[in-house]
């Protein structure tokens, strides 16, 4: 417990979290602080490229084994099943109709790559190693949740039929292509490739992450302001409870797979995080009736800050206690 509190305290005063808090506070105080759209986009491209590339290099250095394939399968299963749990929980805790509940559920089966990146940053500051292929697991977990949620929604006659546009949106959205592509480049070029561009993908990484989280704080703050009347106590409870359930499921999967402590933390983070990039886009195409203010405010305004500030230290402490790492 002491360990958890100390880790939580360290986490809360890290530059990453404080940058997020600055953005959040500025937005809630109605400051005109903004990060230009093009710069925010460039930073997200940089972060995705760097995290994918470094993951690929790690796999090149350590080789591939059966655990990689099993981890991918576990990620897909987690992503497909978590929306079913989220849907059930939403129906119990809230009065959302099945279309909105299904749309929210999709977000909680899919992942937030920024939370994942923040997780790797915490692990590095704690000196905990993790499997490089967890980046590939993150990419694999983006889409299955969307399909599960669409199935849930279609049972009530709410979702549009799957067509090529929707498939393209799900499978080929920019973040997945960049993450998988940079992972492949890192894997192919290995340590030599990393040595060539390390001054670009390694050294500035945390600084860029701070600025990106400043922007995310602004976006989350604006979302919270806009969605103030929508977030009921039930939804708020869901936004905090569901990540803990997802993290628990991730931990069980990590233990079954025999992942390292760092790998277990990352699978917990992936299970706990909620999408706010890929899934909202897919939901707007497939289920335009679902209210984006609900799912975006929940995933970005409630679950993302919770995971960032409190979830990460909890997941690290629990994974350490369970794996003995």
């Amino acid at each position: 417990m002491e360990n958890l509190l100390s880790l939580a305290a360290d986490n809360l005063v890290s530059p990453i979290i404080l940058s997020f808090v600055l953005g959040l506070t500025a937005a809630l105080a109605r400051s005109d602080l903004t990060i230009p759209e093009a710069i925010a986009k460039a930073m997200s491209i940089y972060l995705l490229f760097a995290i994918g590339f470094k993951g690929g290099v790690s796999v090149a250095a350590h080789g591939i084994d059966a655990t990689l394939g099993l981890s991918l399968i576990a990620g897909v299963i987690l992503s497909a099943l978590l929306p079913l749990v989220a849907f059930g929980l939403l129906r119990v805790l809230t009065n959302l109709d099945h279309v909105n509940a299904g749309a929210v559920a999709a977000h909680y089966g899919s992942i937030s790559i920024v939370t994942f990146v923040a997780g790797t940053s915490v692990l590095e500051s704690q000196g905990l190693m993790y499997e490089g292929y967890m980046v590939a697991v993150a990419a694999a977990m983006e889409a299955p949740a969307i399909l599960s949620a669409l199935w849930l929604i279609s049972r009530g006659g709410g979702a549009r039929r799957m067509d090529s546009d929707l498939w393209r949106e799900i499978a080929l959205n920019g973040s997945i292509v960049l993450l998988v592509g940079s992972f492949a480049i890192g894997w192919i070029t290995g340590e030599d490739g990393l040595a060539e561009i390390s001054s670009f993908v390694v050294a500035p990484f945390k600084g860029v992450l701070c600025l990106f989280l400043l922007d995310m704080g602004i976006v989350a703050g604006r979302g919270l302001r806009a969605g103030r009347g929508l977030i009921t106590m039930g939804l708020l409870g869901f936004g905090v409870l569901m990540p803990l359930i997802g993290a628990g499921a991730g931990l069980v999967a990590a233990l079954l797979l025999g992942l390292s402590t760092g790998g277990a933390v990352l699978l917990m983070v992936l299970g706990a995080s909620a999408s706010y990039i890929a899934v909202p886009a897919a939901m707007r195409v497939a289920v335009p009736e679902a209210n984006p203010s609900i799912y975006l405010t929940l995933s970005l305004g409630v679950t993302f800050p919770f995971n960032l500030a409190l979830g990460l230290p909890i997941y690290v402490s629990v994974a350490r206690a369970v794996t003995g790492g």
């Binding site: 890929a278 939901m283 707007r284 335009p288 975006l296």
Partner: protein, 103 residues
């Protein structure tokens, strides 16, 4: 200067369905159109601003095309299924063009 009657169709729609809409325009033989980014606005779905959006899901665009009046009904019938359940506004105004053969 000789000018000719035409119809200017402005479609403000979610960015996520932009390609679906432009495909429908091309299918109707409308190969000339302009796409503009939308900075923000307010409507039945609430207030919205382009700044601070992390997902393509929330963006809006405006597609503008100018067509001959006799093609208007066919065009509107073709784009209606695309707009369907999405947020958006379609408006049609009379306008004049110089080179009628281009529309």
């Amino acid at each position: 200067m000789q000018t000719h009657d035409a119809k200017r169709v402005e479609i403000t729609i979610e960015a996520i369905v932009k390609s679906r809409l432009t495909d429908a325009l091309v299918d109707q033989g409308v190969t000339g159109f302009t796409i503009l980014p939308v900075l923000g606005g307010s409507g039945r779905s609430g207030e919205w601003s382009r700044s601070g959006q992390v997902s393509r899901a929330s963006g809006m665009v405006q597609v503008i095309c100018i067509i001959r009046p006799d093609r208007l009904d066919g065009l509107l019938s073709a784009i209606l299924p695309v707009l369907d359940r999405h947020i958006g506004v379609v408006s049609v105004t009379d306008c004049q063009v110089l080179r009628a053969e281009r529309f």
